[in-house]
């Protein structure tokens, strides 16, 4: 690392300005920012043996430097990510198709897994342990919380190994690496949506009435997804260097089931610990989701804002950390 003189840091700013990684469709924007380049390269007709003739637009300049962390990294990272949104879509789609290829039940598995867990938990906690469920039939009570929990734990436990599974690609191709863990999160979201159909069926079976408040559930899922992404990004980038993360994760997630209100209600937590308990966004979001869906009540605004703010901080930190470690991932993986 070298010390930056004022001149150098201003140069950094300038080159970051014209650096526009891989946004090929954005040549016109690059042209605006670098008028000097345009005069150097007059538009030129060019013939590609496979693609025919095209007009060559001015090229943009990419500057590659040793990695250094700055707020700009996050901004440019998000811009590059936007340029690769098609890859995120493709990877998510293929993650889903690959998972259920060569399986007979296919997509039904997305619903069967939470259903099976619901039955086990109902057997243990309702029949054996007699846990209170706020007057809601216990299967419905546990299923409505299992869905967001399975979304979170499934996404994180798949995503944590994501980069390592793609090590051959990571050492050969360049693209924003965060797409890999994020594609696991999006795939888990699709599974979540499928399982929600079963939840709807269960609610009809138990004759739970719906209200317009159910739309708040979308907001809750959005926040939960952002928090899941933060954890997935953070853990998967550490996993690249230290494989201990994936080994420890199943234990942590097992504890997590009981540290969040999945099998019991928040009401059974002593009142003085409740505030601390609900600082965990996963716990408060699961609780909010259940209240919205089963009781048709509007969410506790203060609780939602708190978990939203914590999520935003976590996501910014996790993304910044991910982007800072990204350039060296192919070296240590």
């Amino acid at each position: 690392m070298h010390l930056r003189t004022p001149i150098e840091s201003s140069r950094q700013a300038v080159s970051d300005e014209i650096e526009d990684p891989e946004l090929h469709d954005d040549w016109s924007a690059a042209e605006e920012r670098t008028p000097a380049l345009e005069s150097m390269t007059p538009p030129l007709e060019r013939r590609h043996p496979l693609l025919g003739t095209r007009i060559v637009t001015p090229r943009n300049l990419t500057v590659i430097r040793p990695p250094s962390f700055s707020l700009g990294t996050i901004v440019f990272g998000i811009r590059a990510l936007a340029g690769y949104r098609d890859l995120l879509y493709t990877l998510t789609l293929f993650r889903l198709t690959v998972r259920y290829k060569q399986s007979i039940l296919g997509w039904i598995w997305a619903a069967l897994q939470p259903l099976a867990m619901m039955m086990i938990y109902t057997l243990i906690f309702s029949r054996v342990a007699r846990v209170k469920s706020e007057g809601v039939p216990y299967p419905l009570f546990v299923f409505s919380a299992l869905l967001p929990w399975i979304f979170f734990s499934g996404a994180v436990s798949n995503a944590v190994n994501g980069l390592v599974n793609y090590s051959t690609v990571i050492t050969k191709l360049h693209f924003p690496r965060e797409i890999i863990p994020l594609s696991y999160v999006f795939a888990a979201l699709v599974d979540f949506a499928i399982a929600c159909v079963i939840l709807g069926g269960l609610m009809m079976y138990y004759r739970v009435s719906l209200s317009w408040n159910i739309l708040y559930a979308l907001l809750v899922v959005a926040i939960l997804m952002a928090f899941t992404s933060a954890i997935a990004l953070f853990l998967s980038s550490i996993q690249v260097r230290f494989r201990d993360i994936a080994a420890a994760l199943p234990v942590v997630l097992q504890i997590g089931v009981f540290a969040t209100p999945v099998v019991y209600s928040v009401g059974s937590i002593p009142l003085r610990f409740q505030r601390l308990y609900l600082l965990n966004p996963v716990a408060s979001l699961i609780e909010t989701f259940r209240r919205i869906v089963l009781h048709g009540s509007a969410p506790d605004v203060q609780m939602l804002i708190t978990s939203g703010a914590i999520t935003l901080c976590c996501l910014a930190l996790a993304y910044g950390y991910f982007k800072a470690t990204e350039p060296m991932m192919s070296d240590v993986i």
Binding site: H24, L51, K172
Partner: protein
Amino acid sequence: MFDIRLDRVSKRYFIQSGSRERSIGWPNFSLLHKKEMWALRDVSFEVPQGESLGIIGNNGAGKSTLLKLLSKITAPTSGEIRIRGRLSALVEVGSGFHPELTGRENIFLNGSMLGMTRSEIARKVDSIVDFAGVPEYIDVPVKRYSTGMYVRLGFSIAAHLDPDILLLDEVLAVGDIAFQAKCLDLIGQLREDGRTIVLISHDLGAIQRLCDRAILLHHGQVVTTGTPADVIDHYQQMSMGGEETYHLNEDAHQKPARCLHITFASTESDETPRTGYPMFARFGFHAQDPLENVVFNVLIFWPSGYLCAQLTTAVSDPQLRITAGSGEVEFYCPVLEIQPGWYRVDVSIESNGDYIDRQQRCAVLHVHPGKMVFGDFYMDTVWRVHPWEQLRAKESP
């Protein structure tokens, strides 16, 4: 005007120094102790627009690291790289493929990893399938593909990227001969079209044919840059250890005959063999006893290790007899036909079909440029021009 500019670029890797032998169950703290290794050290060069640059060097010289830096797979430790335009690398094509997905699905997956949008891929998919030559297999999972089909599809996707700058790393070694020819044609067309090309290859012939300029990397540093011919010559000299003299084993005193020396000379005044000019090879020997049916052999090998040419007494006189004592066989070659470069030489003496003495890779033949040339060999020719009327006059008496 440059397309690629490297300014004092260095790349450091950390390699684990802890021993791998450790008892199972004990925490592996050697993960935390690492030794540093510089893959590139203060490398600076420029590639002007439209140039095709070859990069050669031994394994571990830093070629692949350089390519990874240019394609942004990894970041430099210090220094700065500037790239003007869209760059794409053809490195181990097909490495993003998922075996369970069909060829078509993989085109979309791999294409979007290479930075294409879905609509762009949808436009090009027919042309991709066509170039790869796999139309009947396009909806079959790629795990059912042969290796050649796999690689052809990968190359075809990458070839449809339409970059301003193209990085190639040993990709010419893919597919069958017909596909290789297709790839070479494509690269040639792209080059004529004014694309900038950076080619990394151990195929020195390809470097010579396709590049305007070459760079020799050694231990992470640029050793020479210049015309491909000069740089290849330097590289071959370096990999031969630079010795131009022979070194024979001296443990051959008990043998009935042994090789003493082998030297090559030109009849020209500067005494160095040149392509297209006469050459002498002088093979010194010592015989303890008189020998019958003797054959003297000089084998000349390409740097790659393949046999290039042979000088032998067997063809003209397989029943050669020699008396006891020292002597010298002089081979005279009226026209040296092999191309300039560095060759390794074996010498051997046979009698009655058995080797009496055999020295492998004992000397180096350095052929300097002479009447060369393109291609692997110089063909000595005489020629003259016949005016058309003369030919007509000959035909009609």
